[in-house]
Symmetry: C2
Subunit: 451 residues, 2 copies
């Protein structure tokens, strides 16, 4: 018999995609969404552009408001409601109504967990109340933007050199702050190989960011609970604000004792239908682990694309359909001022760990015919399996019209294409768009001789 009440915890990309899908398939189903903030369905990826004021109001980042979901979709969205506990035996959720400061139990027939993630907060002795910002929710973005507007800080230190760190560096540069960035490894963008990461480090320096690489964050210094400086293992950096870019932690603390299986770092383990190990409990988005199809291993990856796709799969199955999510290949893209960085697949250090024998090469090419105005440099690195020539990974750095070329490599990885297959692809060419041999094909042509 069809379950009756669907409870969804978390009202952003994954949760609301699922809710909308269920509503389309089951017009009369009772759907309750608990969302701890005041907002639903917003573009978390857009927050850096709101911080930089490229996007003028945070409302522009909102796809659909709680009110719209209630009135147009008949979805019972309860904002300012935070889930505290899941009782899978009795099929109920304990929730805090933050406005009324009341706790309640809500029964469910099916449950979906889409609580996303939060910026990883280091566990240090001196954690000031004012001046340290983590960017994960719209609320956290609004808070930082308001602070910039009101207190006009002049200096910022970003801890962490991943894509959030880089995008926030851009945002704060645009806002006129002097920006430093601390990263534990010798480069920014650890998801790139060293040689490619160094190119990004150089680009960041050119943009005016002071990089402290091979340097570990140790503690904050503060006065009256207000941030004064960041202490690393090498120095103390005086700064007005800090932005945390040390990764995203799944919001799954409230699942302790629920019996729902979590992976090592707290991400929920699901099968390809987004089902957890507990009957009638599904999960999707930034709080789950997904399969990396290239490595065959599961990984936690906080990305809007994955949240939407897994949300759609969960929603389809919750509505009695049959959808599955094959997994990711590790595609990510990031823009920092004039630079574009993209990656997909495995990187050399992954392959070393997996003991897969590989070859790799890097080429410099152009985004358009050399004679065509606006042709910019592009660096493409490809990694392929030794012997078979199967593509294992690709990384791209350029200034314009560069990054999106990674999509062909993502398709190639998903369907096990070899370098020869890539060379043979009938990719589009005209002088304003590419070279006769697209840069990704030029890289494949160079690498194939090493296979």
């Amino acid at each position: 018999m069809m379950s009756n009440i669907l409870v969804i915890i978390g009202g952003d990309a994954a949760g609301m995609t699922a809710a909308s899908k269920v509503r389309r398939e089951q017009p009369d189903r009772k759907i309750i969404v608990f969302e701890k903030s005041a907002h639903t369905s917003y573009s978390a990826c857009g927050i850096p552009y709101f911080i930089s004021q490229i996007v003028e109001t945070y409302q522009e980042l909102i796809v659909r408001t709680p009110e719209e979901f209630r009135t147009q979709y008949n979805i019972d969205v309860r904002t300012m409601h935070k889930a505290l506990e899941v009782d899978t035996a009795k099929k109920r959720v304990r929730v805090l109504d933050k406005t009324a400061q009341l706790e309640l139990w809500q029964d469910y027939d099916q449950l979906m967990i889409a609580t996303g993630g939060k910026a990883f907060c280091p566990d240090v002795s001196e954690y000031p109340q004012v001046g340290v910002f983590g960017i994960s929710t719209l609320k956290s973005g609004i808070k930082l933007e308001a602070y910039l507007e009101e207190y006009r800080p002049r200096t910022a230190v970003i801890i962490g050199g991943g894509y959030i760190g880089l995008e926030m560096a851009e945002a704060l540069l645009i806002r006129g702050l002097s920006v430093s960035l601390i990263n534990r490894s010798g480069q920014v963008m650890n998801t790139l190989d060293t040689d490619m990461g160094e190119l990004v480090s150089e680009a960041m320096r050119k943009l005016g960011v002071t990089l402290y690489l091979n340097e570990e964050f140790v503690n904050f210094e503060s006065e009256n609970n207000k941030l004064k400086a960041v202490v690393t293992n090498k120095r103390t950096i005086t700064t007005d604000i800090v932005v945390l870019g040390m990764g995203i932690t799944p919001n799954t603390g409230f699942l302790k004792g629920s019996g729902i299986s979590l992976a090592k770092k707290g991400a929920i383990m699901v099968d390809d239908r987004m089902q957890t190990n507990i009957a009638d409990v599904y999960a999707a988005g930034d709080c789950i682990e997904v399969l990396n199809m290239v490595s065959g291993q599961h990984m936690h990856i906080a990305l809007g694309t994955v949240a939407n796709k897994t949300g759609l799969v969960a929603g389809t199955n919750l509505a009695g359909g049959n959808a599955s999510f094959p997994g990711v290949v590790g595609t990510a893209v990031c823009k920092v001022c004039t630079y574009e960085v993209a990656r997909t697949g495995l990187q050399e250090k992954d392959l070393d760990k997996l003991k897969i024998d590989y070859v790799s090469t890097k080429i410099e090419s152009k985004t358009r015919a050399g004679y065509y105005p606006g042709s910019k440099g592009i660096t493409v690195k490809l990694i392929a399996e030794k012997g078979t020539g199967r593509l294992l990974g690709g990384q791209i750095i350029g200034e314009e019209d560069a990054a999106k070329r990674v999509d062909v490599l993502a398709a190639a990885l998903t369907h096990n294409l070899t370098l020869q297959n890539i060379i043979d692809l009938d990719l589009s060419y005209a002088p304003p768009f590419s070279l006769v041999w697209d840069p990704v094909q030029a890289a494949a042509r160079k690498l194939i001789d090493q296979v």
Copy 2:
């Protein structure tokens, strides 16, 4: 035993790619290239941008000069030599040395034909010597540019609405001419479906091009051998110049009686190793037919990408290697001022002819997140096989960052991906580059319900 003398007829993309490949593999091989013009290895695709003066000198279009091939590659390039006849029985070629006005016979052990194509010239009673221009070789481009510079024509009529016609329309608009375009069918870009072609027609009109659609070219009018007007089946259009964009005809007239098999429209028939039906005779580039992997039929297609790829395959095999060219999927891309047009695969009229049951849909989307500056409209049309959902074709029109997205569809077509496979692809997303569901995935999501 390894053949000794390699003769190549034609010194542009396919011919010189093959020559260079053979030289790399066989440093001592005797390689003779007969080229009827004064130029080798230039970007024919770049000619419109030389006409528009976006590219200042024609030399910028030249990748390598005959002199460079002679001195750096030890390739015996003989420019101003036109092949007149191939005697496959005696393995020799009759050639006209245009400078000396002498004919000679050249023996070969292996022969490669890479004579490309020329603009189709209508066979009409009144063909003026001055004022009608076909664009295929660098020489023809130089001639038109010189004419524009010297005589400052004010009006141009382009006959034909394919990509050469559109690119030449752009070039002449930039040069300040008043441009009209005649096309036999009801739209420009017949390689697009009617609904998409109409969007391009609209765009052309917005740019200021007068379109005469559903109209047939009949004849020229001239005075003292100088063009005065173009006559169609509906009107007479007074004009200073005409540019022919009625297609490219393979330069294979000289093969009559050689025994080399030609297809209906004169393109050379080759196997996937670029071998003709005659032993030791290969061909590549704009003068051959290639396999369309989606339709399973052979077609003549004049594109730089195909010329380079087939030239490389021919060169590899001529040097004793073993390469094959799997075919094309019909990818093409074209820019006209601010508009980008791309297509791949089959179009609806192809499928009707092939009696393949299909579904299709068209969506409007954005190239970047809606809130991100510079986000432009993009229209994506997808066609898929009814029942299986296998992709059969894709067409894209947009204003910026639109066209190159066709590459993912080209990869999908080559490897028989379904709409679900496309939806599942791990394509890159960040607000400056795309939407969470890339427009091609959004189109696949819409179409999958019709399958």
